[in-house]
């Protein structure tokens, strides 16, 4: 070991690779290659497939396994050769890296973070109109609907979950349950009682908040892993109830024919009372050229979800500066200290659950009004995992980071569908969207190595005396339930 480190030191100083560093790299690379070989042979080298007579036949693809092992060997060999072995002591316990000194953010980056939010909002408000102008109604539908609306739903869900996970530090793996409650609330209230979207929206939020409190009560005493497991189970319970209570929810078949949203009573239809006709009648001077187009409804939905998301953001940002928000963050930092200062941790946790759930409820009712159809299929665990991944990837507690992570994760999925040219390389059977999870998994691993605290890893203080200084992520706790 001593010779290796000496050799590395000399490598660093002279720039040449000594013999012992090459052997060390060979040894490390060889070991990694062998592990890959061992792992890949049952899942890659041997593949069972059904033939015409429904019998399983074993395909052997040893070359794939060997290629994978060789690739891992080569990468590991180069990494070790260039960067040196990870420093370990004899017992194999890694030596913790010395803490990096907190670097004060530069003036430019402070200005950047101050104004990027406002800039982003301006861009978002202009987005559908600009796209419509450039690409025309047919071409812009995909951009406004698949990218715009879809991403904004997840931005809103991410911001909602950020209250629970990022601020209060309560790990919630069943967030999609509240999204489902919101969606089914609107679907059922509108189809059975004929209530309008604008009446159902607050109702759906309230119902979801109620369910948030109902979930909150039993899990008050749980922390960390246990809390995560129970919330996960709660998410599944809601979904399974939606499947099995067929009298109410129509089970797997879902609820269809959900009424569309109107702009304060003005529907987006090609009728004399529709949006285009009304706009002409009321504001003929500016809107004389407007005709009915189905894209108008999509643009309306875009602005609707944008406003809902901004409402979530506004409330969260404001709450952070209020005693309630500070109590959430204090709860994440140290629950016992909170209690010693007279903070009722029960109500503090419940309000975090309720508020997070309420915003999911809003988003859920938007989801059902947009789709016109809901079924339990839309509320599986993978949705919870995606939303949580957005929060973690964005940097827990950071509004900007969460928005950016949603853009990358959901926008990335959509872009994968666009990569038609990959078919020319990998053959016509190749579907890049199938590799979504693989790419995200890889992206997550890379993030955890380079930015373990997410895209925005610093915490912005809620108040300051003289100067606002970002708090380094290494000091901020993740919360333990």
């Amino acid at each position: 070991m001593a010779t290796t480190t000496d050799a590395l030191k000399s490598t660093a100083s002279s720039g040449a690779f000594s013999l012992s560093s090459v052997t060390a790299a060979l040894k490390d690379g060889g070991f990694a290659g062998l592990v890959t070989l061992g792992l890949s042979f049952p899942i890659v080298a041997l593949r069972a497939e059904q033939d015409m007579s429904n019998q399983l036949i074993l395909q052997q693809r040893w070359s794939w396994s060997l290629i994978a092992a060789a690739a891992v060997f080569a990468v590991r060999f180069l990494v070790v050769l260039v960067r040196g072995r990870p420093r370990t002591v004899a017992a194999g316990i890694p030596i913790p890296a010395p803490p990096r000194p907190a670097v004060a953010p530069s003036r430019a980056s402070v200005l950047f973070t101050r104004y990027i939010g406002a800039l982003g909002i301006l861009v978002l408000f202009a987005f559908p109109l600009v796209i419509l102008k450039v690409l025309g109604p047919a071409g812009s539908l995909k951009w406004i609907n698949n990218y715009g609306v879809q991403i904004l739903i997840y931005v809103m869900l991410g911001w909602g979950l950020n209250i629970v996970v990022g601020l209060a530090g309560l790990l919630d793996l069943g967030y999609v349950a509240f999204y489902a409650v919101g969606a089914y609330s609107y679907a059922l209230l509108s189809t059975t009682l004929g209530l309008s979207f604008w009446l159902c929206l607050p109702l759906a939020g309230l119902l979801a908040a109620l369910w948030g409190v109902l979930l909150g009560f039993p899990v008050l005493r749980l922390r960390g892993d246990y809390l995560a497991i129970v919330t996960l189970a709660f998410g599944e319970i809601i979904r399974i109830i939606l499947i099995n209570w067929t009298d109410l929810t129509n089970g797997y078949a879902g609820i269809s024919g959900i009424p569309r949203a109107t702009l304060f009573g003005v529907p987006f239809t090609d009728t004399p009372n529709g949006f285009a006709a009304t706009a002409q009648a009321l504001l003929g001077h500016w809107f004389h050229h407007i005709r009915y187009q189905s894209i108008q409804r999509t643009i309306f939905l875009f602005y609707l979800i944008l406003c809902l998301a901004l409402l979530t953001n506004f409330v969260t940002m404001r709450l952070r500066r209020m005693p309630m928000g500070r109590a959430w963050e204090a709860l994440r930092e140290d629950e016992i200290a909170c209690r010693s200062l007279g903070i009722n941790t029960t109500t503090t946790k419940l309000t975090a659950f309720a508020l997070g759930a309420m915003f999911a409820g809003f988003a859920g009712s938007f989801f059902s009004v947009r789709q016109g159809f809901v079924s339990p299929e839309s509320f599986t665990f993978i949705e919870s995992a995606t939303i949580l991944a957005i929060v973690v990837l964005g940097g827990m507690g950071s509004q900007l980071g969460v928005a950016f992570a949603a853009l990358v994760m959901i926008g990335g999925t959509e872009i994968l569908r666009e990569l038609e040219w990959t078919k020319q390389i990998f053959g016509s059977d190749f579907d890049p969207a199938q590799y979504r999870m693989l790419i995200f998994g890889f992206g997550m691993v890379v993030m955890m190595i380079w930015r373990p605290r997410g895209i925005v890893s610093t915490r912005e203080p809620s108040i300051f005396l003289k100067e606002k200084k970002a708090v380094s992520g290494s000091l901020v706790r993740e919360g333990h339930g």
Binding site: M322, R326, A327, D334, G342
Partner: protein, 302 residues
């Protein structure tokens, strides 16, 4: 003897068992209003357990902890409150609380007992100023109309928050941390973190401040600063102090009253001079020579 004539906190027959282990055994003492009362004893004597019972983090197995916030409570009033099963009564001498019946956050908010911890528990990722504002959570919460009014900007929340900041600044000035108000608490040096924890507890306007080893890990200069701080807290803020401490230079210098515990039992109770010369205390701390063991054991009734 203020702890007899005007007790703030009266602990009677406090017993705390953890399964078979008796951490505190039938302990009775009182802490005088305006006194600095020290709770001392060798490691494992049960001092922190007493603290956890007083501040509501543990529910005592047996015993009564009565706290008279404004003035000495009559014995009859305490008995009457005990019989009702309630936590609080308004007696002729002021508010009377039975701490063993209250959850921890209510003890802090209603009975006004604040505490610090043996291992510092600051909100490390929050700034120094934020730490002091979280301590004023309850009054700010009321001023913000339980968030609802504050969220829409109605009511006097802004003004109340400014007052809270002024109060935080007062304490920051007192502990010499004004220049570091916007730094995260976790970046402060150890001694400053200790002082900040005391300031944070003081921001809850306590009548009784419980300090669990506040001088642990401090150098002699920081210890003497701490003595000074505790004296001014007692003099200027009508706050009595209950203190666990191993550093005898702190204990003997500033305490008005010392209670000594050993193996969960009270072995001595009195002024610093009385305790200093108590044979049982010397025996508990220093041990005794082999030939004296029997004699001492007979004396202390072990």
């Amino acid at each position: 003897m203020r702890w007899q004539s005007d007790p703030l906190l009266v602990v009677e027959h406090l017993t705390m068992r953890f399964g078979g282990l008796v951490a505190v055994n039938d302990l009775s003492f009182s802490a005088g209003r305006g006194d600095i009362t020290a709770l001392i004893g060798p490691n494992g004597a049960g001092k922190t357990t007493v603290f956890n019972c007083v501040t509501g983090f543990y529910k005592p197995t047996e015993g009564r902890l009565s706290l008279a916030r404004q003035g000495k409570a009559a014995a009859a009033d305490i008995e009457a409150l005990t019989k009702t099963g309630k936590r609080h009564a308004l007696t002729p001498s002021g508010d009377l609380y039975l701490l063993e019946r209250m959850p921890d956050h209510q003890i802090s908010w209603h009975a006004r007992v604040a505490r610090t911890f043996q291992n510092i528990r600051l909100f490390q990722g929050m700034t120094v100023l934020e730490n002091l504002l979280v301590a004023q959570h309850n009054p700010l919460m009321i001023a913000s109309g339980f968030t609802v009014l504050g969220l829409v900007g109605i009511g006097g929340y802004r003004a109340r928050e400014r007052e809270a900041i002024e109060k935080a600044k007062f304490w920051l000035d007192r502990i010499g941390l004004i220049p570091r108000a916007d730094d995260p608490a976790g970046e402060l040096p150890y001694g400053a973190q200790r002082r900040l924890e005391i300031a944070r507890a003081m921001c809850t306007d306590p009548v009784l401040l419980c300090l669990d080893e506040p001088a642990a890990g401090l150098n002699p200069r920081e210890s003497s600063d701490l003595n000074e701080l505790l004296r001014t807290i007692r003099a200027d803020h009508a706050t009595s102090v209950l203190l666990i401490e191993h550093d005898m230079s702190v204990v003997m210098e500033i305490s008005d009253h010392i209670v000594v515990l050993d193996y969960g039992l009270k072995i001595s109770d009195g002024t610093p001079d009385e305790v200093r010369n108590d044979q049982k205390v010397i025996a508990a701390y220093l041990g005794v020579a082999d030939e004296e063991v029997e004699q001492i054991e007979a004396e202390i009734g072990a």
